[in-house]
């Protein structure tokens, strides 16, 4: 790493209707460094990247590449200037060969026609720079995601090698693959390329980066040398909270005797390689379990594993003492599970259907197609939940996509409550929900657990997890690292567990 500044961002601001996504953000990137960009949900990382690469035009502020103002350039111009981006999802053509993917749109030509020989040998040379020796004539899709990721990097590096932005490149890679990627990154930085590295894996940040910049809620918090920023300091900067050594006094609940409550679900060593490390879990009736951890720590993965969306390749699952294998959500639902997914639009709501239909859907699916709820029953169920959950809608028959975020969330919640579950999994139940609805949802969750429902809550807001949960399972880098219960549950303890990464 040299001290030469290659990229400078000054006073960058960007607003969307209702949100100030970036507020006076500055950043400086040096040649040959790996610069980690950290921040929680909504911190503004992806907005910043999109501003850097020209996909968004910023409201104010400037971006300089090697002293040249590139603030107003278009994405393709910026790319030719020397900034390349590799996204989390591989944006290449799976059906073309590796070589073609690297040279698409700029294939070498000989006498007016594409020169395959040169293209393939050039591709091999580019990949060799990344220590990758693969058959470049094979279809991209015949390689693992890790290799595809490398090919995407190769394309980026070959087009312009001054600044490389890696946006969560490691989220689908296993340990060995991450190591390969790191060696490539080291090689590139040795050649002078500056790398912006966005990831949720703290250990990786400390393994590879030279400096760390933190964003929070669209504000620039600061840039630090890795050595000057221990893990717990980084976490508290990301979350805007200080970690005190002592268990803070604001804790709550006396440790209830969980043993007296009946165990509803037991997971022993359930996991899937490359997805989530094996975890052990006991869920009691009438208990709220919180999953805490940073974004990408494996929270949603656990939920999907338990609910049969993804099948584990190791471990056992018991529901009320009997071993179960959930090959699909349907099987899980029949055993009394319910799951409000994080991505409401994609996985939760049936947008075109009405509020009423969305509410009764899970119950109806549970009953089967031939035992249809009558119109009167449907209306009653829907009305009951609209009343008890205070869903604001002018009409039962309004398409649910026309409701506000908070009300949509309550509709999904109502859907599952209508199916009378025994174990409810809520992934980010308060995401994108206004304050009023937020408190409302928290109140509902607490009420439900009093009624004896087993609940698992996943939330990025630590405060919320701590507030709701009887027990908190702390996750880090897709591993279960600690379980807190009773008095131990506090934001400080959760934070310090993450920071320690205790075994």
């Amino acid at each position: 790493m040299s001290d030469v500044e290659i990229l400078a961002v000054t006073g960058l601001s960007k607003s969307f209707p209702g949100v100030k996504a970036l507020n006076d953000v500055s950043l400086s990137l040096r040649e040959g460094e790996v610069h980690a960009l950290m921040g929680g949900n909504g911190a503004g990382k992806s907005t910043l990247i999109k501003c850097l690469t020209g996909f968004y035009s910023s409201d104010s502020g400037k971006v300089f590449l090697a002293g040249k103002d590139i603030s107003s350039l278009k994405p393709d111009q910026i790319q030719t200037c020397g900034i390349s981006t590799v996204h989390q999802e591989v944006n290449l053509i799976p059906t073309l060969s590796v070589a073609e993917n690297i040279f698409l749109g700029r294939q070498p030509k000989i006498r007016g026609r594409i020169d395959w020989k040169t293209m393939n040998s050039k591709a091999r040379a580019v990949l060799a720079r990344l220590n990758l020796d693969i058959d470049v004539t094979q279809m991209l899709s015949s390689y693992s995601i890790a290799i595809q990721q490398m090919v995407a990097i190769a394309r980026g590096v070959d087009m312009s090698a001054r600044v490389l932005i890696l946006d969560e490149p490691t989220s689908s890679l296993d340990l060995k693959e991450v190591e390969q990627l790191f060696s490539v990154m080291r090689r590139l930085t040795a050649e002078g390329t500056a790398i912006v590295f966005v990831t949720h894996f703290l250990d990786q940040v400390y393994a590879i980066s030279n400096r760390i910049s933190v964003l929070r809620n669209g504000h620039y918090i600061g840039t630090y040398e890795k050595a000057d920023l221990p893990q717990n300091a980084l976490i508290s900067k990301m979350l805007g909270k200080t970690i005190s050594d002592k268990t803070d006094s604001s804790t709550k609940k006396q440790s209830q005797d969980q043993d007296e409550k009946e165990v509803y679900l037991t997971a022993s060593g359930i996991g899937k390689s490359g997805y989530i490390e094996p975890i052990d879990l006991k869920v009691h009736q009438g208990e709220v379990i919180g999953l805490a951890g940073l974004l990408g720590s494996g929270r949603s993965e656990i939920a999907k594993l338990l609910f049969g969306v993804v099948q584990p390749d190791t471990g056992r699952l018991y529901v009320q003492g009997t071993e179960q294998l959930f090959s699909s959500p349907r099987k899980a639902i029949q055993q009394g599970l319910a799951f409000c997914p994080e991505d409401r639009k994609k996985e939760g709501l049936i947008g075109e259907l009405s509020v009423k239909e969305n509410i009764i859907l899970a119950l109806q699916a549970k009953r089967g197609w031939y035992r249809a709820l009558t119109g009167v029953q449907q209306e009653k169920i829907a009305k009951d939940f609209i009343k008890s959950l205070k869903i604001v809608t002018s009409d039962l028959n309004k398409p649910v996509k026309e409701l506000s975020g908070g009300n949509q969330q309550k509709v999904v919640l109502a859907r599952w409550l209508a199916s009378a579950p025994s174990f409810l999994i809520l992934d980010e139940p308060t995401r994108g929900v206004d304050i009023g609805a937020h408190q409302e949802i928290v109140r509902i969750i607490k009420g439900l657990s009093k009624q004896g429902l087993a609940i698992m809550v996943i939330a990025s807001e630590l405060e919320e997890v701590v507030d709701i949960s009887d027990r908190v399972i702390v996750l880090k880098d897709r591993k279960q690292i600690k379980e807190l219960s009773g008095d131990e549950i506090s934001e400080a303890n959760v934070l310090s567990s993450i920071a320690e990464g205790a075994l």
């Binding site: 053509i93 073609e100 698409l104 594409i114 990758l132 279809m139």
Partner: protein
Amino acid sequence: MNNKYIPLAATIFVFMALFGFGSAQFDSFFSMRVFTNLFTDNAFLAITAIGMTFVILSGGIDLSVGSMIACVGVATAVLIEHYQLHPLVVFPIILICATLFGSFMGFLIEKYDLPPFIVTLAGMFFLRGLSFVISIESIPITHSFYDSIADFYIPLPGNGSLTVSTLILLTVLAGAVYIAHYTRIGRNIYAVGGNEQSAALLGVPVGRTKLFVYSANSFLAALAGIVFTFYTFSGYSLAAMGLELDAIASVVIGGTLLSGGVGYVVGTIFGVLIQGVIQTIISFDGTLNSWWTKIFIGLLLFIFISLQRLISSGLLLKWWPSDKKPLVN
């Protein structure tokens, strides 16, 4: 072997097996004459199928080609016979009009994001209707130019012959292979069919590529229509009914993925030849009926589509010993 060649290899194998079967069954089957006749008799289908290959590679479909052939036939016949124009004047006019028609369909598909299936379905209705409007009767073409075309051929040993239709087909084939593999527009078609969003992100001009594909396809369908008149010496509005299905079937049997992005023009030619061989076998046999062609092609479609599913789902990879596993240092 490279996995992507499996369907193509399978197609060529099926063709050779069928040709071998015919040769074993019937005395005079194994000859240059039978082989070159396959080309002459199916040249119009092959030319259409080549255009269809590009459309399907780009992730689209075109149902209008059969009607295009009929419409071109009728229009050509009317222009030559009723308006006394020389065929060499008529052909360019027809080809230009057809290309413009294809561009219009491409425009609707690309600009308004309409499903290709519906747009080209409307195109199919329109062109068929237009042929009816031009003439319901079959119009014979008696121009002397057509006689000289019919008389011209390059003899090959073994009673084979390269007719004008075959020569046009081979020229189109060579051009198509060149475009598909040696030009950027060709590679862009593959990219768009492989993943449209990614292609756009990688800087491929998606709209222009689609426009090109539909224009080129209509051009080729019109060319096939002209070649068809060499074959029938007439224009008939009911001609080439359902030809789009034969063309699509040829493309799929030829190993092109119907979801786009993967396939070879050469495969399509073998897809056409397979259909031709089946017909030849049936006509040699004399006792088998023509509907066996449809059933057999349906069966082949099923086998090839299932094969594609297996490959794309990666199931086949487990069974197929790959000598080149990804290596990383």
